[in-house]
Subunit: 337 residues, 2 copies
């Protein structure tokens, strides 16, 4: 039986780079007995220097834990998940922080782990990497996707409550496939565009002059190129089909802008930019309504799951999740209907 929200869970963080390290540092402020683990001995040494327990063996780090965060590279995730599952009990909740969700969610189905593994993705980061770059406040106010399922609703509720209360995160419930489509456009395609812009500037004859005149638009448009290249390659390859699909949508608009330019059609160009500008204003000025919803703790959870998935698709977020013996209560913010 999964512990209910509100108890002090024993937590481990596996993979303590920028994201995992930041999770660890924040958890330690609330749960001093948090344990860390990283495959790199030097990173474990850094963690111990900071006063956190970092056993040499992964099994020793997770054996008695109630919750385990998996924060290593995407490619290492399936094997790490199996190892952690093998060394923990069936009531230990496991979540990950990978930037794509469908592949790991399918793997969890194949391995029969959906009752205690909840795919996750905190939407936060910096251009830096490693435990030395980690900061406990990294997730304050950040969106943190969790993927709920009927057979894992208990672990979902527990994690949602923990992410909101410990990390001040806004939990966005989504199915793995919707998540991967959305981040393709909201994160991965922007990385492709930034790489193309910076890459073109690197190759042109006027490179030095471009550097001399780089305006805010060029600086903004190339910023995420500073992300470690392996991390960029990881996210693009793991989400390739969705990335290429959403890039196709961007190319449609780009072709329309170019066509308007070629045809000297200022009205068409301005109309396109007005639509783009409305989207930008909607992004900057999101009016969200407060909402409170209750569901029975027991039962078939179908209504609860439907509510959660619709909330995420509508651009909403959970700002609270608490359960007593009978009722689970969600606090949410969502765009007006």
């Amino acid at each position: 039986m999964v512990r209910s929200v509100g108890q002090r869970p024993r937590v481990a963080v596996v993979g303590t780079g920028l994201i995992g390290g930041s999770i660890l540092l924040r958890l330690r402020e609330v749960y001093p007995d948090v344990v860390g683990w990283d495959p790199d001995p030097a990173t474990r040494a850094v963690g111990r220097d900071r006063g956190v327990r970092f056993p040499d063996a992964l099994a020793d780090a997770v054996r008695d834990r109630d919750v385990v965060f998996l924060a290593g590279p995407l490619a290492s995730l399936p094997e790490t998940l199996l190892t952690v599952a093998r060394h923990t009990g069936d009531d230990c909740v496991v979540t990950d922080v990978g930037s794509t969700k469908d592949a790991v969610a399918r793997f969890a189905v194949e391995q029969g782990l959906t009752g205690r593994f909840v795919p996750g993705h905190p939407m936060a980061g910096t251009e830096r990497s490693g435990l030395t770059a980690a900061v406990p406040e990294l997730f304050d106010g950040a969106a943190w996707v969790l993927c709920p399922r009927l057979d894992g609703i208990g672990p979902f509720r527990m994690l949602a409550g923990l992410l909101v209360t410990v990390f001040s995160a806004r939990v966005v419930p989504m199915s793995p496939t919707v998540h991967d489509s959305v981040v393709a456009l909201s994160s991965h395609v922007p990385h492709l565009l930034a790489g193309s812009l910076a890459g073109a500037a690197a190759d042109v004859e006027i490179r030095d002059a471009v550097l001399g005149l780089a305006a805010g638009s060029f600086r903004d448009g190339t910023r995420v190129v500073g992300t470690p290249v392996e991390r960029i390659a990881d996210m693009l390859f793991q989400n390739r089909d969705e990335v290429l699909g959403q890039l196709g949508q961007v190319r449609v608009v780009l072709d329309a802008l170019v066509d308007a330019l070629r045809r000297d059609d200022a009205d068409a160009l301005v109309e396109r930019y007005r639509r783009a500008q409305e989207l930008r204003h909607a992004l900057l000025d999101r009016a969200l309504d407060e909402q409170r919803r209750e569901f029975p703790v027991d039962g078939d959870h179908a209504d609860e799951l439907a509510y959660l998935l619709e909330l995420g698709s509508a651009g909403g977020q959970l700002t609270g999740c608490a359960a007593d013996a009978d009722v689970v209560t969600y606090l949410a913010r969502r765009p007006p209907a």
Copy 2:
């Protein structure tokens, strides 16, 4: 005879929106007798409320001036230049702030104004517009392109000195054609990419979820869409051929990234991102050497012009310009050879 650097010039600013207004406000701190003019009576009233002289007639604003900044929309520039030239003496130096330079430079040649018109382009701005958004510190540390010519070297020197001393700007000397190529890639293409990304998000079914999960990469990649749409359309149409050409370079890199993704070629993708990342690092960490160069005030100016144009192409900038009776001295910063 153009006044030498160091005297207190009588200045007018024609067109007092965000850019012209910011020029006016900064100038007023140094030269209290600066005069403003705008075609919009309400803007003239705002200017007068701020204690600046704003005559109703353009001719009255510029008649006795030593320097006139033209800061209206690109489309109005040729006519305004002719009007200002007609109502000022041959020793009145005129410059503009338009975001493309070749068209207005050619117009000045046709009209025989190259001896006193120096095309200019300050690389600064915000998403806001209008005199009410203007701030005197807008150009602190910003690149400000000026286009020198053999027959306008005196006005160039005077303006370069004024921009450095009054606006704390870094003056980048460039030919109009080089400028237009460079800003196509460093400013205009980023606006196209931002419009395409935001425009695609506006049209897709998952729009609301994208807004809910928009990461820093999406926010950065769409920021300049907030620029007034008429200003974006103006710059893209005025520089169309260069914009389409430089966009072609960006598409080459984008196609290569997509090809690497499709072929599952992680090495090729990572190599492309490494090149892009080097460019980004070069942008953030530009080591510039200090340089001092002197040229005779009189003579054929060929060496001086060649020096200036090479400096701008190399990504360098002027940080000082002063002349005595015999010698003009430039202080510059430039990337190491």
